[in-house]
């Protein structure tokens, strides 16, 4: 594998995104998202202030509940936007580009097929990871300004989000070896949706103390670790929060999140490796 080839191809993909104004569109829409988020958060904190002030609500801190729920919402939005970016940067990388005739001139140079996949992954993952990190930190700052609330952890959740979108980029890239662009895009979004549903199932399972639901959620979370990363990141927001406040957050739509421990990160690395190996092996056998 040639590092210079990886750099050349990843750089070329980056230049394509710049030249095709992908980043301009993304930046404009992201600013719109953050403005909307800021408005919502500011309004929510106002309501909380007016409604409860400094009342004692049996140990529940309304500011913390509002902040954690809102930043959790921002996190979901960030993950969603990051996933869109990851999918669209990679969905046609192998088969799509081969069908349109873009790929062959490069591979014949020769660029190893595995090298090409790694380069496309590195380019997309770097862009998406940087993107979600920036948006998440911006949302945290907005939350701070609007409601004077700051999450218990910031680095861990940011890393988790970044890893989740990188993982989705890898899945979409692997999918692009097997499926044509449109089919691949649909498939990856469905997988993404399935992961989210699994997460919600887990939350419901937790609330109902249902072992079956919990098992289903656990298995799907491990099969689709981007969901576990997202849950872990959510949990990080209120890692040090305890008591009724924590309980109130857990009952909300962005609570119930469980931190998964260091094993998750090990699995993420293994999962990434597995996806890469499967994609590279299948791609090596393809007639182009």
């Amino acid at each position: 594998m040639s590092l210079d080839h990886v750099r050349a191809i990843a750089g070329f993909a980056l230049r394509e995104s710049l030249r095709r104004r992908v980043f301009v569109v993304v930046a404009v829409l992201t600013v719109a998202f953050l403005v909307l988020y800021g408005l919502g958060a500011w309004q929510a904190f106002q309501e909380v202030d007016e409604g409860f002030g400094d009342d004692d609500l049996g140990g529940v801190e309304p500011q913390t509940v509002a902040g954690a729920t809102f930043l959790g919402l921002a996190m979901f939005g960030t993950l969603f936007l990051g996933t869109i970016l990851a999918v669209f940067l990679t969905l046609g990388a192998a088969r799509g580009d081969a069908e349109s005739g873009l790929l062959q001139p490069l591979l014949v140079r020769p660029v190893g097929r595995a090298t090409y996949l790694v380069a496309r992954f590195a380019g997309a993952a770097a862009i998406c990871a940087a993107y979600v990190t920036v948006v998440f930190v911006a949302a945290a700052i907005i939350t701070r300004v609007a409601g004077d609330w700051w999450p218990d952890r910031i680095v861990g959740p940011a890393l988790g989000l970044a890893a989740a979108v990188a993982l989705l980029a890898a899945v979409a890239l692997a999918g692009s070896v097997f499926l044509a662009s449109t089919a691949n895009g649909i498939a990856v979004f469905m997988v993404f949706g399935a992961g989210l549903v699994a997460g919600l199932l887990g939350q419901i399972g937790e609330a109902l103390s249902s072992d079956t639901l919990n098992t289903v959620a656990d298995v799907s979370t491990w099969a689709l670790p981007f969901e576990a990363l997202y849950q872990d990141a959510l949990a990080g927001l209120t890692a040090d929060t305890v008591g009724f406040t924590k309980l109130a957050i857990d009952l909300g739509p962005f609570g119930g999140a469980q931190d998964a421990g260091p094993l998750l990160w090990l699995w993420v690395v293994g999962y990434l490796g597995l996806v890469c190996v499967i994609a590279a092996r299948a791609f090596a056998r393809r007639d182009l």
Binding site: D4, H5, A8, I9, F12, E16, R19, R20, S100, G101, L102, Q104, P105, L106, L107, V108, R109, P110, V111, G112, R285, D287, L288
Partner: protein, 278 residues
Amino acid sequence: MSLALSVSALRKTYGSVTALHGVDLEVDEGELFGLLGPNGAGKSTLVKSACGLVRPTGGTVEVAGAPAGSERANRSMGYLAELFRFPEWCRADELLELHQRLAGSRGGASERSALLEEVGLADAAGRRVGAMSKGMQQRLGLAQALIGSPRLLLLDEPTSALDPAGRRLVRALLERLRERGVAVLLNSHLLSEVELVCDRVAIIAAGRVVAAGSPDDLSHAGGVEVETGAGVRVFARASRDEAPRIVAELVGAGEAVYGVRVLRSSLEDAYLEAVEGT
């Protein structure tokens, strides 16, 4: 003389379709080799096997002594695909620069401008691919294939989108390449083009080589038709080369000549004969 390309017993099946049934073919260094054959004959499959894009089902393909698809094989080769696309946003010069980097060429800006000049795109270095006509893109594809001074050039219908001047330019380019000792495998449906430049030709039909040899070996006279004052006269066995002599003789004999037509290119006859029955 060593071989630029050596194909032996090459078989390729795509699912239930057999595209190549054991093809043998050799291209010498510095040789201009034409590959002819009807649609679906397997020409592109053969070329793609030589550049490692398609995995042979059986047989071997070697480029300059190295197995096809290996790094060493591809390093000594340039390829222009039949159906290719370059990114629309990319400028001609930028594209060549990327390929220089990938090919490890140290030619720099001088190589790029020389290649653009060679394909008649000297003025288009800064133009986006998306703003180029199909023929201009094909010219750019040729320049791209020539990056890094390959020893073997695989061209799959390189002139399909070119105007007559462009075709002539490519013919001249191929002749210059031959002088430099570059071997070329040229897929084409333009028999006249192949006849004009190629040293050797193979005709392939339904995945098999059905005829091979120099254009002269393969061709035989197609006849010459002359319109004279006394009506149309056909010289059935005459070749194109004989047309001036025939006309001179007729004029010498006092006949008025109104028109001369060489009947079907002779390679075309050979081609149709070889391809019929398959």
